[in-house]
Symmetry: C2
C-alpha cells in the first residue's frame, strides 16, 4: 500500500468553509490512488476556549480531566471532516483514539504516543476507507484520555507515518512552507524547496514556528519525508528530508533572527567546575529561558567571561536572581537590551571553507558590529544591535544568493 | 450501598458559575453518605451549535458522525464538573461511555441503552469515588458512539438508576418541579409534591415539558422514584412515584392545556373498516401531528362524524391533504381555528364518581361551551374556545381545590 499521512492544523479546519476545502484536498490524494490517513487538530480557537473554561473552574485543574476536556476539540473536527467526505460519496469515518487504540505513556497533558494498534486501520484502508483520526491524543494503559504535550497533532502525524510506513507525511498549515528567512522581515525571502532535518531543527528552534522541534526530531529518527504546505493555496510546499536526498548547491539554506533579546555578561567569573551550573540553575528554576551561551577559555586559568542572552521581558527578574546568587563569584556584570541574534544555517557549510569569513565580511561591509559569535556544525550565530537586524538579513540573504 | 443518581440538564451546567453550583449540590449528597452517580447533559446551547455546524457541512449529515460530533458536548461538561469536585478535594472523575462501557442498540441518533457494564463503576463507588458520566450516549456493538434519540440524558439517568438499583433518581433542571397547571397561565398554580407515573405521563404528553414521556415510562416500568427539582433554588421538587406511595386525598392532581390548536370535523364519513387509517395515514406521512381524535358511533350504521385536532400552523397543509384524499368519502368538512384543549388529570378520579359532572358544571357556570369531550382512565379532556382557556383553568383549579 502506498500510504500518505495528511495532517491538518487548527487554522486549516478553523471554519466550515475550510473544512470543505480540506475534504477537497483529501479527494485529490484519493484520485492519485493513495491510501490516506488523515490526522486533524481542533478547529482553531476551540482548545484555548476550553482551557479558559478549565482555569475558571480551578487554578489547579486536574490533568486527567484537562485531557478529557481539550481532546473533545479534535473529536468535533474529525466528525465534520468525515461527514463532509461521506457527503461527497467517499467511504470515510472518524476514529477516536480509544477506537484504534493509540496508546500513550507519560503523565497527563504531557504524554507521548508509544504504540498504535494497526489492525483496524489497516483493514479499513484495505476496504478503501479514509480514516479521520484525532490528533494530539491517545489513551494510557489505564484507559484514560491523555494528550500529547509537545508537538501536538504534528507528533501524532509523524507517529502514524512511522507505524504505517507512510511514503510521506504532509503537514497542512497556514503558511506555504519554510522560507529562507522571515518574509515579514525581508520581502525577498524565498520558499525553500527542500531542507534537511538538521537544518530544519536549527531553523525551528531559531524562530521558524511551523513545526515543533520534537516532531522534526521524530521524523528525522524515523527517516520520514515531511512536506509542509498551505491548505489555502495550491502550491508545493517545503520538503523536509534527509541530507542525502537534497540536491542543492547552496551553501546556506536559510537565515533566522530573534528579536527583543537582552545580553548578560559576567566579567571575571572564578573559573572552577560547576560554575556554569550555579549560574543557570536558579534561572531555569524561575522559568527564564536562556538562549545563546558563550564562554571563552580562561586566559589565566583563573577567571573567565560568560555571556548569555535572554528575552528582554525577563531582564529585571534575571538581574535580581544574579545579584542574589551567593554561589557565584565575579568581578562585574553587564546587561544590554536591544540585541538580536542572526544565524545562517546550511549543511553546505560543512564542506565549504570560508563561510564564517564571508558572513563577517558581509556584515562589516554594512558597518554592523558583531558582539558575540557562536557556531555549530551547520549554523553560525552572531549577536548584533537590534536596529541592524533587517540590514543584516538583507546583506546576508544577498551574499549567500538565497533570492535565486 | 445507598445509591442516588443525580442528573443535571443543559441549563443546570450552562455556565462555569452553574457548574460550581452543581458541585456544591453533589457535595451535599456526599455529606449524607450517599454513593452518588452523576449524569450530565452538555452545557446549554452547545449541542445546537454543533448541530448547526453539521447542517452547514451537509444537508444529509452522516448519523454516525453526528453522534461523534454532538457527544463531545457531554464530555466537556463532565470533565468540568469532575475538575471542580477534584478542586474541592473529592475523589471524582469523568467516565466516558466507552470507558464503562454503556452499550446501546438501534440506529444512530436514535438508539437506546440496553446494557451498562457495572464492574468498573461499582468498584469506583466502593473506593468512595464520584463518577461523572456523559448522558445521552453510549457505544454500539461496533464500538461506535451512538446517541439516545428520545429522552436524552434523562433516559441515561433512569437506566443507571435501574442497573445500579438506585434509591432515587434526581433530575435537576431549570424548573422547581411539576405544577398543578402552567404557572405562566395561572399564578395560583402550585408545585405538586408527589405525582404518580401515570399522571405524569398524561401531564407530560399534554404540555408539561419537564421530562420526556419515554423516560417517565422507563421509570414506571422499573419502579424508580424520580425527583424533579431546580438546581438554582434549594427547595424540594416533585416526586414521581408509584400510585401506592402517594398519600393524597386530592381527586385531581393537575390541569394541563394546549394552545394554538385547530379542529377538523369530517361530517358524514362513510363508516367502513379502515376509514380512520385512510384519513390519518397521509397526515402522518406529512409529519402532521394529530392530537385529540373523537369519533362517535354511527347512529344509522352507515355514516359517522369524526373530529380531530392539529396545531394551527398545520391547518392549510391539512386542508389540502384532506381535499386531495381520494380514499375517503364524506359529506362535508369543517375547520375551526382558535380552540384549546383543557385536561384534568388525576388517579383519584378512578375511585371518585362525578368528576366528569363537576368539570362540566364548573365550565358551564362560567358559560364556557364544550365542543368535544374525550376521556381516559385518569384524564378528562375538553375542547373549548381558545379565548376561554384561562377562565377554564381558573375555575377548574378552584373547583378541584388545587391551590390548597
Amino acid at each position: 500500500m502506498r500510504i500518505v499521512v495528511l495532517k491538518f492544523g487548527g487554522t486549516s479546519v478553523g471554519t466550515i468553509k475550510k473544512i470543505k476545502k480540506v475534504a477537497n484536498i483529501i479527494e485529490e490524494y484519493k484520485k492519485k490512488n493513495f491510501k490516506i490517513i488523515v490526522i486533524s487538530s481542533a478547529m482553531s480557537g476551540v482548545t484555548n476556549e476550553l482551557i479558559k473554561k478549565s482555569r475558571h473552574i480551578s487554578n489547579n485543574f486536574s490533568g486527567a480531566e484537562y485531557d478529557v476536556l481539550v481532546s473533545s476539540g479534535e473529536q468535533v473536527a474529525c466528525s465534520l471532516i468525515a461527514g463532509r467526505l461521506i457527503h461527497k460519496g467517499f467511504k470515510a469515518r472518524s476514529w477516536l483514539s480509544w477506537q484504534i487504540p493509540i496508546f500513550t505513556e507519560g503523565s497527563h497533558k504531557n504524554s507521548r504516543i508509544n504504540e498504535i494498534y494497526k489492525n483496524k486501520i489497516t483493514s479499513y484502508l484495505r476496504e478503501g476507507g479514509i480514516p479521520i483520526i484525532t490528533g494530539f491524543q491517545g489513551i494510557n494503559r489505564n484507559e484514560r484520555v491523555s494528550t500529547i504535550g509537545r508537538g501536538g497533532s504534528d507528533a501524532s502525524a509523524i507517529m502514524f507515518a512511522k507505524f504505517f510506513k507512510a511514503e510521506r507525511c504532509v503537514i497542512y498549515t497556514d503558511v506555504e512552507g519554510i522560507y529562507t528567512t522571515d518574509p515579514n522581515q525581508l520581502r525577498k525571502a524565498k520558499k525553500i524547496k527542500e531542507i534537511s532535518y538538521e537544518e530544519m531543527l536549527e531553523m525551528a528552534s531559531l524562530g521558524a514556528k511551523v513545526m515543533q522541534p520534537v516532531s522534526i526530531q521524530d521524523a528525522r529518527l524515523n527517516r520520514i519525508d515531511v512536506e509542509v504546505k498551505s491548505s489555502y493555496v495550491k502550491k508545493s510546499g517545503t520538503l523536509i528530508t534527509k541530507r542525502s536526498n537534497i540536491i542543492n548547491n547552496k551553501i546556506i539554506t536559510g537565515i533566522s533572527s530573534t528579536h527583543n533579546d537582552a545580553k548578560v555578561t559576567l566579567v571575571g567569573v572564578k573559573d572552577k567546575p560547576g560554575v556554569a551550573a550555579s549560574i543557570f540553575k536558579p534561572l531555569s528554576k524561575n522559568l527564564i529561558n536562556v538562549d545563546m551561551v558563550v564562554q571563552n577559555i580562561s586566559p589565566n586559568g583563573k577567571e573567565t567571561d560568560l555571556t548569555f542572552t535572554i528575552k528582554t521581558e525577563d531582564l529585571s527578574k534575571t538581574k535580581k536572581i544574579i545579584k542574589d546568587n551567593k554561589k557565584i563569584n565575579f568581578r562585574k556584570v553587564l546587561f544590554e537590551r536591544g540585541v538580536s541574534k542572526v544565524s545562517i544555517i546550511g549543511v553546505g557549510m560543512i564542506s565549504t571553507p570560508g563561510v564564517t569569513f564571508r558572513m563577517f565580511q558581509a556584515l562589516a561591509s554594512k558597518k554592523i558590529n558583531i558582539k558575540v559569535i557562536s557556531t555549530s556544525e551547520i549554523k553560525i550565530s552572531v549577536l548584533i544591535d537590534k536596529k541592524n537586524t533587517k540590514k543584516a538579513l538583507t546583506i546576508l540573504h544577498k551574499e549567500f544568493k538565497l533570492e535565486k
